[in-house]
Structures are given as structure tokens and as C-alpha cells.
Amino acid sequence: MNTIADITDTVQKTPADRPNDEGHLGLWLSLPAQLLVLFIAVFPILMQIYISLTDWSPLDGIGWWRAWELWNSFANYTDLAQDNRFWSALLRTLLVMVVCVPVEFLLGLGLAVLFVDEFPGRRFLYSVLLIPMMVVPAVAGYMFFMLFQSGGPINDILAFFVGQPVKIAWLSDPDLALIAVMVADIWQWTPLMFLILLAGLVGVPEDQQRAATLLGASWWRRFITIVLPRMKTIMIIALAIRVIENFKIFDTLFIMTGGGPGVATETISVYIYKVTQQELIWGYVAAIALAILITLSIVSAYAIRHVSSPEADT
């Protein structure tokens, strides 16, 4: 049996005797983890690329690895380019993003500015503000499904202000359904923006703000010239997170409208869900998913490059 001294001896001698072994040892030790990562990340993508080049569907009765028998080259991609339902789903997704993310950002920033300084009840309100973020999206979807019923509380509140009964069919009107969905998304995800931006705001050096004040700068000038530039990195991170997350919008929306009425709220994720679960053309789904993955990767790469560049100095 080895004593502890023996073991430490060996450990101490090894690098000196065989200096190259250290690198190999590291490789061997991390190999299982590397293989696991390879399996989790790379294998599904390769599988997806493979299937996206075929007409394979589970209904064909052959295993996915034999999908080459249904090889159709790039037909899925050429179909995708002409698929109007795909393009309108994509545009609708972008529309939701272009409205929701800036609104969430501005609301979150505004709230963060209010919460930087101490005031009575700050801790309580802070906790309350974070609640929406912790609600399971499907539950949030159900909540807003109820709220936006034509006999629901939102119409009642509107009726109170208007002074006469309001019967807006939010979720079944093709023009209004998307607005209802956006309201739900903004309600749920403004707190995340608030949280991230508050962290950034707190991190802006106090003495720089004081220096600016002593130099005669107004609050607004200080905010524009000192606070915002110093928060650049964190703002990019917050926006990137929300752009990527919002692009994938699904659960809340699916419970509220199921993509309807018709295709009025059908976003990319809903479209993919329908093609997968209802039409079962998996080769085509793989092609759509891959196209989106590439798009999102470009967005992330852009954000990461900005965040890690020396320009973004904090």
C-alpha cells in the first residue's frame, strides 16, 4: 500500500522526469468531458445538417441514419427560400422583437435609474418587480390568455376609463392578437432588463459621476456622457440576451393564441412546431432550424465581439 509520502513523491518527481507527460495527462483527464461536449453540441448539429439534405420523415419507416436513401440535395433550402409562410413568420418574429426589446430596454433602464438611489419601500418594490421574471412562461401565457378575454379584466379596466362597456376580442382579432402577445412578453421580460441594467448602473464609478457634477454637469449630461458610455458592455449583453430570447418566443404566445387566429401570431418557433408536430416533414424542419441557428449565431458573434473588444472599456 502506498503511503501519502510515496504518492506526493511520485507526483513531485513525474514532471521533472517526464516533462511532456503533463500535457498528455491533462488531455486524458479532460477527454471524457470533451467527448461529452462533442456529443451534446456537435453531434445533433451534424445530424441536423445531414437530415436537412434529405426528404426523411419518421413516417417513412426507416431509421434516420438511412435518410440518405431520400437524399434531395438542397431542395429543402430552395423550398425554404420560396416558402411564404416561413418568411412571414420570420418577419412577424422580427416585428415582435423590434417592438418588445426596445420597450423592455427603455422601461428596464428607466426603472433601474429609479432604483439606484435609496427610497422608502425600495427593497419591497424591487422584489415585486422581479416576480414576472420568475413566473413560468406557460403560466404567464395562461394569465394573459385570461386577462385578454373579451369579458376579461383588461376590457373591464378599459371600460372604466372609457365609460361604456368594451368588448374587444383581443385574441381572436388578427390585428390585435400580436399586440396582446407583445404586452405579455414585455410584462414578463422587462424585469430581466431592469435587473441587468441596474447591475450595470450600480457599477458606474461614483467618483466619475461626482467629478462630472463638480465640473457643472447636469443630471442629464452626466447620464448621457458618463453613465451610458460606461454601461455600454452591459447594455450590449442585455440586448443580446433579449434579442436571442425574443427570437425564440414560443411558450407564452402558444398558450395565448396557438399562433392564431389563422397565422396572425405565427412566429418562427410556432411555425417550426407546427411543421414538426402536425406536418411531420422533418427534413424540411431541420433546414429551417439550421437557417435560424446560423442567423442567431451571427447576432451572438456580433455581440461577443463588441463586448470583448478593447473599445468596450469599463
Partner: protein
Amino acid sequence: MTEIRLSNLGKDFASFTALADMNMTIADGEFMALLGPSGCGKSTTMNMIAGMLEPTTGSIEFDGRDVRGVPMARRGVGFVFQNYAIFTHMTVWDNLAYGLKARGTPRAEVARRVEETASLLQLSPLLKRRASGLSVNILQRLAIGRSAIVEPAIFLLDEPLSNVDAAFRAVMRTELKQLQRQFKQTMIYVTHDQLEAMTMADRIAVMDHGKLLQVGTPLDVYNNPQNTFVAGFLGSPGMNLMQGHVRQDGSSTAVDFGAHGSITVSDTAIEAAAAKSDGRVQFGFRPEAAAPSQDGALRFPVNFIERIGSRTIVHLGDPDNAIKIIVANQTELPRVGEVLSLDITKGSERFFEIESGQAVGRQSDGLH
């Protein structure tokens, strides 16, 4: 340029008193150093002058005008922060122009004054550079320039040299003093480094535990400390302090240190002070005011010899009366254990009351 008058100034943080009863007048164009250990209230004083803190008691007047309630942006105070607080996301030019732009100065004048200040501070070649990669001495000049460009009446500097290494500090001390001569502004300089205070300031205000202990020119504060704290805080090493008994020695009065010998004194104030505490009094002398001699008045065993290059510090005495003296390097050094006999330079003896620690007899020109 402004005269600053602090009257009964005090600041409490909850139950903690950071500053109490501070009275001081800083003359127009004067370089005043607030000197003291950490937590002595010097930064609190400065922050109140800048308007970052409101005083709990007392008042601050600029040229006879009470500034209570005047927001810091309108006090006309230039502040150089400990870490300079340079806007590192901007260029040097933008940093310098910041205060002028905030005041809505016309663009052409901003450009002209930035050029002017930059050339005065030798920053002209760096104007286009981002401020993030600059060296510390450039940051310091930039911080001063950024405050100076809006021509503040008062300049406050909060330990601007504390982040700099020792060698560089010497260079920057000289530079700072020159900058003050150029701008001719009233400057208040907070530091815990006595060397900075002694070399740069016109007057020094020594503070401890939220109290102003003494104000005076560097030499006056050094030579005539008004209490034992100032005596021990200034100087490196500080003033030697030892307790003795006052007794009548025939026609003259002597302070007796038992086995360590005695010295004769002629000031009746010392007797009066000693009468307050059983005939005891504290005697102080500077390490450089004592010299070994054949038959000196005081005798101490040598404990330890500390060579610091330019001179040598000899540690003497026992734990109750630990004495340090400074001797030149060329002097023949005593051996450890040997009993050394010391002569104290006439006129450099100082006496303090035991209880209050206040100076007895010879006084400097007073606190205010």
C-alpha cells in the same frame, strides 16, 4: 481665488462624530494641507467644503458667503480625486473640455481654452489619445487641468499621490507645487503623508479623531507641537517623549528622570503644569536634537542600531522610555548594551502636561 472660513464645523454620522468644532481660515491663494492618520476627519472636512456632505453643525463661508445648501456643481470647487476619476472612455481633449461644455461655453472658446490648458500642462501631444492608457503622472496633470480649466475658486486634492510609488511621489510633489504656483488658486490638500504636507504646504492643519489639533507653517508645527500627538506624528521618527518629576535643586528647578539623569529648567510654567499631576511632566525632544557626549545630562543603554543609509537611528532606553536619536553616518557608533550619555541641544527641549498632553511654556503662534 477665495478665502475659506470654517466655523464650529462638525459632522456626525449616526452616533459617530467624524468631525467636531473645527475652526480654521484658509487665506486666498494659500496651499493648506490637512494632515492626519486615517479616520481623523480630514476627508470629511474636504467633502463638506466641496458640498458632497452637508455639515451637521457650524458653517463654511467662501469670501464671507455661507455656502450651506449650495449644490456642489455651483460652488466653484475643483476636486482632484484620489484615483483622479478621469473619464477613461473619452479622449484627453474631451476630458479637458468637459467642464466648459457643461457650462455651455461657445465651441470656439472651448477649443481655445483646451489648447491653452493643454500646453500649460504639457498635454498638447496627447489630446487625441484615449485617457484609459495614460501613465499616472499624466493622469494627475489631466485631473488638475480638467478642474483648472473652468477656473474654480478653490482646488481640493484628496490624497492624489497615494496610488503612486515612492520614487515617483517625489517627482509629483515638485510638479504639484509648480502647478499651484501657475494657477495661484486656494488649494486644500488632504494627506496622511507628512512629507507631502511639509514639502508642499504653506500651512499644515494637523488633525486626529475628528479634531483640529494645530495649524501652522510646516516648520512651526514641527518645532513647536502643541500637544503630544502632533509631536509624535510629525517627524520620522517622531519626537521622543518621556515622563519626569519636577523637583527643586537648590536655587534652580530640575526635571528628574531617575536613573536616566535630570535636566535643569528655568520656566515656571513647567512647575505649574507639573503641579497638576503629582509633580510629573512630559519631556520631549527631537531625535536630531540629541547628541552623544562625554558627560551629557541623560544616560540610556543602547538597544539597537538601525542604519537607513544617509543616517543612523540609535534606539535607546527601556520600554517605558524608548528613545531614538539620529546620528550622522560618519560618527563612531556605540555598541549595543553600552550606556550612552546624551546632550540635548539648548532651546529644543519641549514640555507637555501629563493629563491633557498640551504643550507647556514656549508656544507657537496659536491655533487660528
